[in-house]
């Protein structure tokens, strides 16, 4: 889905993040520019340590921005972080959930924290449990959930307040193929309802299958940006030979060989 209703859902201009450590300053993100259209599924790819998660954490107000600016759903994340938080849903790497609550309690709590009344929060929790097909496990404590169930609940928790933009940091990492397909289906359904999705992933096939456009970040800088087919076509044209996959685009963009990339980027068979 690519509605492009005009205003960018996510805007980043010259976004920079430095960390000061004992061994000097580390430049995790060195000037990222992004413009994501409303209704898109946008993929953000890169090797480990390239700056994907740091960028997501800045855009979701979890990390201070060293310099540059960013907006989500038209709200400046530095000037109005609470306004930005009201408009975004966040599911970070490794489903971050409270293991001692039940699924229903967690969704209820998030509803209340987002300002819903008691009845409204309960109704929303029921809707979301149905959406992610966790009704049967709703009253079980979360630490007993499988990895796939935790990811689905994490996704549901990110949707409690019907966000305009959903940030997902490697939502399918570590999941079996069936759970991954379930998450893909849910993401398509959520996007079909008009939610913009910003997705980081290490799985190139996931990006190819799901994303309208994608960007590749390496060493803190965006090195490629476009639709998957555009990026492949560009490389095919430059190389002048036949078959080009997103793997080839990734390797070309990050200057890696297949051997070096092993373990950093993976292909998955869905």
């Amino acid at each position: 889905m690519n509605q492009d209703l005009g205003a960018p859902a996510v805007l980043a201009e010259a976004l920079v993040k430095h960390y000061d450590g004992r061994e000097g300053t580390v430049e995790a993100v060195r000037g990222v520019d992004l413009q994501i259209r409303t209704g898109e599924i946008f993929g953000f790819l890169g090797p480990n340590g390239a700056g994907k998660s740091t960028t997501v954490r800045m855009l979701t107000t979890l990390l201070t921005i060293t310099s540059g600016r960013a907006e989500v759903a038209g709200v400046d994340v530095i000037d109005d972080p609470d306004g930005a938080r009201r408009r975004i849903g966040v599911a970070l790497q490794e489903a971050g959930l409270d293991p001692r609550q039940t699924g229903r309690e967690l969704l209820n709590l998030h509803g209340r924290l987002f300002g819903l009344g008691a009845t409204e929060a309960k109704e929303r929790a029921e809707e979301l449990l149905a959406l992610v097909e966790l009704e049967d496990a709703a009253d079980r404590v979360i630490k007993g959930y499988s990895g796939g169930m935790q990811r689905r609940l994490d996704l549901a928790a990110a949707l409690v307040h019907e966000p305009e933009v959903l940030f997902l940091d490697e939502p399918t990492t570590g999941l079996d193929p069936a759970s991954r397909l379930t998450i893909w289906g849910e993401l398509r359904r959520i996007n079909g309802n008009g939610t913009t999705i910003f997705l980081t992933t290490q799985y190139l096939e996931e990006a190819d299958q799901l994303c309208d456009r994608l960007a590749i970040i390496d060493d803190g800088l965006i090195v490629r940006q476009g639709t998957p087919s555009q990026l492949k076509a560009d490389l095919r044209e430059r190389r002048g030979d036949g078959e080009v996959t997103l793997d080839d685009v990734f390797l070309d963009a990050t200057g890696r060989t297949r051997e070096r990339a092993a373990g950093e980027v993976q292909e998955v068979a869905a």
Binding site: T61, G83, V90, L92, E94, D98, Q101, L109, H110, L113
Partner: protein, 251 residues
């Protein structure tokens, strides 16, 4: 405020789901009360030991029992577990005041502290320990104990926020723990050796302990009671200011 209360309710549910932890919180201090009283009661008979005000040595030991129980809060460990597990970031991405994330746990600690302190005092009553200051004194004693629990848990949460590590948070507890014992916990301050008396005099926990002890052994002696409340008030304000500053600048 509603976010703080919602998060406080969550923390209480969490505590109720771990009854074994609540049991240990009470068992270890009561164990020390029984052992210490059993070992020293012969040395300090109630009829010839002036500082006991006619009560048994167990009454003199009750304040350290309550302070120990209040210092066994799990808030910081649960917090650091959430930091390590990622749920803390999920909460930070919600538009609630960030201080409510740490205050919610402290609200739950206060509620737990009231219940645990009241239960320990009620368990002690049949064993000849009286609350000489009466029902109001009982309430003040429970309140002081619970407030200390909140202050202690708050400082432990600061260590959790600063270090983001369960191991470091546990070790941090070992730094604060001796404060409970650099006090006149076995005999009144004027009977301590000089170095211990100096250490006890500069340790704020001493005034809290003496305030609690006066509620158990004396009538309502306001000149001593206020000192305990002053200690928890001053330390509480310090803890709250530091907590709010730390979580606002958490990156």
């Amino acid at each position: 405020m509603s976010a703080t209360l919602a998060l406080g309710r969550r923390s209480l549910r969490e505590a109720l789901r771990q009854p074994d932890a609540l049991f240990m919180t009470m068992f270890i201090p009561i164990f020390f009360l029984v052992v210490n009283t059993g070992q020293a009661a012969e040395i300090f008979p109630s009829d010839t030991t002036g500082f006991l005000e006619g009560q048994g040595y167990g009454a003199f030991q009750l304040p350290i029992t309550l302070l120990l129980a209040a210092s066994f809060g799990m808030a910081a460990l649960f917090l650091v577990e959430e930091i390590e597990g990622g749920y803390f970031d999920k909460l930070r991405a919600i538009p609630v005041p960030r201080y409510s994330i740490v205050l919610g746990r402290l609200v739950a600690e206060a509620a737990k502290g009231v219940v645990i302190s009241a239960v320990i005092v009620l368990i002690a009553l049949p064993f000849g320990i009286d609350i000489a200051s009466g029902p109001l004194g009982f309430l003040l004693l429970v309140a002081l104990s619970a407030l200390w629990g909140v202050v202690y848990a708050g400082f432990m949460q600061l260590i959790a926020l600063k270090t983001r590590s369960a191991a470091a948070t546990n070790s941090g507890g070992l730094i604060f723990f001796p404060l409970l014992f650099l006090t006149p916990n076995f005999v009144p301050r004027d009977l301590l050796t000089e170095p211990m008396e100096i250490a006890a005099t500069i340790n704020p926990v001493t005034y809290l302990m003496e305030s609690m002890r006066s509620l158990i052994l004396d009538d309502l002696a306001w000149s001593e009671i206020w000192q305990g409340f002053a200690v928890v008030a001053v330390l509480g304000v310090m803890m709250l200011v530091l907590s709010v500053r730390m979580i606002q600048s958490y990156d």
